[in-house]
């Protein structure tokens, strides 16, 4: 038996949380130090996957399987493939960004704060690794609570409203999914929750659309897809910076990942049947999110709506069933995590300096804080898909793949590329350019050493993946080919 790496990855944050609980409350630098050490250790541990993953197989790797509640066929089964391990790495990397990003922002109840983040990390990793539907559901629900608490306790003015809205939206989706999971257990006759077993079963055509819809609803809320997106701007605007980074960077990917791992493989016929519906909603989201982003007055809200637009690209990429588009979608999950995480980091830094997120309160900052401005500029171009930076190839592959299914999809979605330039450049212009008219902006400090290191780490990946996207694309090819085969063969059998 080799190293139980995945269980270590899920377990380490829990251990870190317990140790955190035992540390003395009165020593914030000790708490911060331990928090950073823990997420750093976790990140290093996750690199094990990068170096040991077999690129040539679509099979699940690093699989661990323990019986949990055998009488109901529930097991603790975890594994990753060339697709999901990127999301694991994204999670551990963004945690490594988010934790130090909180150091100067969060001063109250640090202990709980870090504990919730550790639990959140374990839960998110669990979602990406689970190969048992029941286990998946437990992790899925578990990821909800710490995030709701982070928003509700450490958030801004309307934090309670935002937290409750977040919980209500997500819960209403996941409850139906729970019903569908149970139905899956009974109607397939498999009497197991093991995902790989369930994938071999054929769900009756009469019931497949219902189960598909129940899963899809939960995932669509999480992504979020139009018109279920309105919890996102509120949650982002109210969340503390690190909360926004993880929310946008990882939590939204849970939904997109769910579509790929569950909807496509468990309900291939229904996936094909309902694909046009999801695609149309995705395209509406791309254009709608971008348009609404353009007129936002609050920077965080702008980035939140831009996420609606960007996530639309990812859903489009998933549901056109193309090797290129699906690869692009997964690549774009990583990219969106980096770029949008970075954007929220920047807005957080601006907020800490000015105690405002309103675009109108800024102006001319490039003169005052040139390094932060340059980082903003780079991330902005990454977010609008500039070739040479990370965002381009993913977007291009999605548009390329979508064309094969229907050129109209590509044409409409590509409008989002134009709109992205409008909302980002216009925001940048109003925040960073122009004369410094507001006295409060005249003496802002530029990035400090800690902030600079975070910016540099993100910038490095933004450029690296721009010129070498194959680093991400290569390992996932086998899995995506297999995934598409499954949906195609199922479609033919029908």
């Amino acid at each position: 038996m080799s190293l139980p790496i995945l269980s270590l990855l899920i377990g380490l944050p829990f251990v870190a949380a317990v140790i955190m609980a035992l540390l003395p409350r009165g020593n914030p630098s000790l708490l911060k130090g331990w928090a950073l050490a823990a997420v750093a250790l976790e990140f290093l541990l996750s690199l094990y996957l990068l170096f040991n993953l077999d690129h040539d197989t679509s099979a699940m790797q690093f699989v661990e399987n323990y019986a949990w509640i055998p009488q109901f066929g529930i097991s603790y089964t975890v594994g990753v493939d060339g697709l999901s391990f990127w999301l694991v790495l994204l999670t551990t990397f963004l945690m490594l960004i988010a934790i130090p990003a909180s150091f100067s922002e969060i001063n109250e109840r640090l202990k709980e704060y870090f504990i919730y983040f550790f639990i959140l990390e374990a839960a998110m990793l669990g979602v990406f690794m689970a190969l048992d539907v029941f286990l998946f559901y437990v992790f899925w629900e578990f990821s909800l609570i710490p995030m709701a608490l982070i928003i509700g306790i450490w958030g801004h003015e309307r934090r309670i409203y935002a937290a409750i809205k977040f919980v209500l939206f997500t819960m209403s989706g996941s409850l139906l999914m729970l019903v569908a999971i149970l139905a899956l257990y009974f109607v397939t006759g498999a009497r197991t929750f093991n995902l790989l077993e369930l994938q071999k079963m054929v769900t009756p055509a009469s019931i497949q659309p219902w189960l598909f819809a129940a899963f899809a609803l939960a995932f669509a809320i999480k992504v979020p897809m139009f018109p279920l997106h309105t919890w996102l701007p509120d949650a982002h605007v109210q969340a503390p910076t690190a909360g926004s980074i993880i929310l946008a960077g990882v939590l939204l990917k849970l939904g997109a990942y769910g579509f790929i791992r569950y909807n496509l493989t468990l309900f291939p016929e229904a996936s094909r049947e309902f694909a046009p519906v999801l695609i149309v909603l995705a395209i509406i989201g791309i254009i709608y999110g971008a348009m609404v982003a353009a007129i936002q007055k609050d920077l965080k809200s702008l980035v939140a709506y831009s996420s609606v637009s960007h996530m639309g690209f990812i859903i489009l990429g998933i549901f056109v069933f193309s090797q290129q588009a699906m690869s692009g979608a997964v690549l774009q999950m990583v990219n969106h995590g980096l770029s949008t995480g970075a954007l929220f980091l920047i807005v957080g830094w601006l907020y800490q300096r000015r105690h405002s997120r309103l675009i109108a309160d800024f102006g001319g900052l490039q003169k005052v804080i040139p390094t932060l401005s340059f980082f903003f500029l780079l991330v902005m171009f990454s977010s609008m898909g500039l070739p040479g930076l990370n965002g381009f190839i993913g977007e291009f592959l999605i548009l390329l793949g979508a064309w094969e299914t229907n050129p109209a999809y590509t044409v409409l979605a590509a409008l989002g590329v134009i709109l992205a330039a409008i909302y980002l450049l216009w925001a940048y212009q109003r925040v960073m350019h122009g004369p410094v008219t507001n006295d409060a902006n005249k003496k802002l400090p530029d990035l400090n050493r800690r902030e600079f290191i975070l910016a540099l780490a993100l910038a490095a990946f933004i450029v690296l993946l721009g010129f070498f996207p194959n680093i991400v694309l290569d390992p996932m090819q086998a899995s995506i080919t297999e995934l598409l085969n499954q949906t195609t063969v199922a479609g033919l059998l029908k």
């Binding site: 109901f72 629900e141 609570i145 709701a148 608490l149 509700g152 306790i153 309670i160 409750i164 809205k165 919980v167 209500l168 939206f169 409850l175 729970l178 309105t230 919890w231 348009m291 609404v292 353009a294 007129i295 090797q323 290129q324 690869s327 692009g328 001319g364 490039q366 003169k367 171009f381 500039l386 070739p387 040479g388 381009f392 190839i393 291009f396 592959l397 548009l399 390329l400 064309w403 094969e404 050129p407 590509t410 590509a414 590329v417 134009i418 330039a421 409008i422 450049l425 216009w426 960073m432 350019h433 122009g434 004369p435 010129f467 070498f468 194959n470 694309l473 290569d474 090819q477 080919t481």
Partner: protein, 660 residues
């Protein structure tokens, strides 16, 4: 040194990275000369590479160099790979040659700027992107350069990002540098939307984006007039109308003049804006399969040339005259491409790079001497104060006007002749009228700037519109002076090129067109036979047009003629149409921007706010009312809330699961 093409874009990239990262800490001179060195070295490597290329037999003149696979997914693949053939050879020599001269000039021109390093980093980055664009061996890498030059253009138009206006001593209102930068990028993105779709359609048509595969596929798989090729080439051309400022997307280029003048010379005259011309010429195999598209290209080019020339007639700002002239000259190039005279288009691209860079740099020298003031109504008489600048500007003006034997004469004449020979007599006639207008507005600018008596006073204070932000220039009185050697030497070199550069492409009746011969392996065009009589006639007509235009300019602006004022009062509607640039900006604002904002607001306030949130909050309130009775259980404290929820979930799960 077999593999050296990659050095050509890589050297300026290194310069950009060094200046971007630590330029601020370097001594100013080091920062500037580093940038110059990198572009010059790139020019050196380019020359070596082109010598290697020319050493190859004519039918095998391609150097192909692959670095690595950029992206590979399923059947899709694109490399980072470079392709040097005679066409890209012309381009890299122009880009690095003219680029190096403009970099040198900038050392002097930007000497008083505090953000020296930022300027040179962006200039070097531009050289990297432009060289990638013209050296790429496939359309995806070309697109990287294509968007990259757009970013550099954005960065440099908005170089004075904190100033509301760069206009000095004028009552005209121009867009601020920051708005101009945003506008330029967004308008280009609209064009790039088409370009990207064209590239995607290309992949699904040919299964590859590499030039080799695409052109081979096009020749073997398609007949002339195949609809898919027509759509593809139209989409690609849409990108060209953005990047190369053609109707209907030309509106960004005049505003781009808000950037420093060397930027206007390098990016917005000599190189970047010609990217669309290069792209169409590069794709000539596709375009020749699509006569419909070629007709569109020819008509758009001619129309743009004409419209921009009419607007240039009434501009008061010297740089804006040159900007509209650039739009107009780019139109000529597209006219050439549209009549399949690809090498003539590239020839004009090259001569235009010489004389228009020269004109802009000379205009920059004027700004330098006149404390940034460039409103021609307040200039005049400068020939005595800056003779070198005057002489070089005059050479550029003669070349632009198509005065016989200057470079622009040969290239424009070739375009007009081939357009006529191609049977486009109508478009040819419009182009001749445009040539007349060109000579007129060019010499109007020469006379108003350098001729006559000064309309300014020694020691006069001219002020910038946003004086408090940008003090310094205006505070000093006017004492015009010749530019320093670091600025006039590049002017002199460009003047030589602008004067004599045309002799490599002589018309048939005068000698040999070496330029056409050099590009022959790329375009492989049948030689169009024109009778000697016709050729002489056409030369005579275009020469006459140039001379008449110059003559009118002299009559109008030498001395105190009232003719311009009288004409304006006779035809006020025409004057208003031109001075307001055909109200195209206003039209876009009215037809696109305003409805867009209105719709976005409706989405946000009504759809999100009222409808979706209304429903969600309504459901939320219902839950809350139900919960009132359980108030003791949740006192609004989030932790309790969550715990209860968790317990609830577990209970639900337990109940459901325990009931088999």
């Amino acid at each position: 040194m077999s593999q050296m093409l990659w050095l050509i874009p890589a050297l300026p990239l290194v310069g950009a990275i060094i200046n971007g990262a630590i330029g601020k800490r370097l001594p100013r001179a080091m920062s500037a000369w580093l940038a110059v060195l990198m572009v010059t070295a790139s020019f050196g490597v380019s020359v070596l590479a082109v010598l290697n290329l020319v050493a190859l037999p004519e039918d095998a003149r391609v150097i192909h160099e692959t670095l690595y696979q950029w992206v590979g997914v399923g059947s899709f693949s694109a490399n980072v790979a470079f392709w040097l053939d005679p066409l890209s050879a012309v381009m890299i020599l122009v880009v690095t040659g003219v680029g190096a001269l403009i970099h040198i000039y900038s050392v002097g021109y930007m000497a008083h700027e505090e953000d020296y390093a930022r300027f040179f980093a962006a200039m070097n980055l531009f050289a990297f992107a432009m060289l990638t664009l013209v050296l790429a061996d496939n359309y995806l890498l070309m697109y990287l350069g294509w968007e990259g030059v757009g970013v550099c253009s954005y960065l440099l138009i908005g170089f004075w990002f904190n100033r509301d206006s760069v206009a000095v001593g004028t009552d005209e209102k121009f867009l601020s540098p920051r708005s101009s930068a945003t506008k330029a990028f967004v308008v280009n993105r609209i064009g790039d939307f088409g370009f990207m779709l064209g590239v995607i359609l290309m992949f699904w048509t040919f299964g590859s984006l590499a030039f080799e595969d695409v052109f081979q596929g096009a020749e073997t798989m398609f007949q002339v007039g195949a609809p898919v090729i027509t759509i593809m080439t139209l989409l690609l051309f849409m990108g060209a109308t953005g990047k190369s400022a053609q109707v209907p997307l030309y509106i960004w280029l005049p505003d781009a003049m808000a950037g420093p003048t060397p930027v206007s010379a390098l990016i917005h005259a000599a190189t970047m804006v010609t990217a669309g011309v290069y792209m169409v010429a590069r794709s000539h195999v596709l375009y020749e399969l699509a006569p419909t598209t070629l007709a569109v290209v020819a008509v758009i080019g001619t129309l743009t040339a004409f419209i921009a020339a009419t607007i240039a007639l009434v501009q008061n700002d010297l740089k804006r005259v040159l900007a509209f002239s650039t739009v107009s000259q780019l139109g000529y190039m597209f006219f050439a491409l549209g009549v399949s005279a690809f090498s003539a288009g590239i020839f004009h691209l090259m001569t235009h790079a010489f004389f228009k860079a020269l004109l802009f740099l000379a205009a920059g020298a004027v700004m330098h001497a006149m404390n940034e003031m460039i409103d021609m109504r307040r200039l005049g008489g400068l020939r005595k104060y800056m003779p070198i600048t005057f002489a070089t500007f005059l050479v550029g003006a003669l070349a632009l006007s198509g005065f016989p034997l200057f470079s622009g004469f040969f290239s424009k004449d070739e375009i007009l002749a081939k357009g006529f020979a191609h049977g486009e007599v109508g478009l040819w006639a419009v182009s001749v009228v445009t040539a007349l207008m060109t000579a007129f507005y060019t010499f109007r600018a020469v006379i108003l700037t350098f001729g006559g008596k000064p309309r300014w006073k020694e020691g006069e204070i001219v002020t910038a519109q946003d004086e408090d932000e940008h003090s310094g220039h205006g505070a000093r009185g006017l004492h015009p002076h010749e530019a320093p050697p670091v600025m006039w030497v590049p002017l002199a070199v460009l003047a030589v090129l602008a004067a004599f550069g045309g002799f490599i492409g002589l018309p048939h009746v005068l000698g040999t067109n070496y330029f056409d011969q050099f590009l022959e392996p790329v375009f492989q065009q049948p030689h169009v036979e024109i009778s000697e009589t016709l050729e002489w006639t056409l030369i005579a007509i275009s020469t006459a047009a140039a001379l008449v235009g110059m003559f009118i300019a002299f009559r109008f602006y030498r001395g105190s003629s009232t003719a311009p004022a009288r004409l304006t009062s006779y035809y006020p509607w025409l004057y208003n149409l031109w001075v307001n640039k055909y109200w195209v900006d206003q039209f876009y604002d009215f037809a696109v921007a305003r409805p867009g904002r209105w719709l976005a607001n409706a989405f946000w306030v009504d759809v999100d706010g009222r409808i979706i949130n209304g429903i969600a909050d309504g459901l939320g309130r219902t839950f809350k009312n139900v919960g009132q009775s359980l108030r003791s259980l949740h006192a609004g404290y989030m932790r309790g809330y969550a715990l209860a929820m968790l317990i609830g979930i577990v209970v639900v799960i337990a109940i459901v699961v325990m009931r088999p």
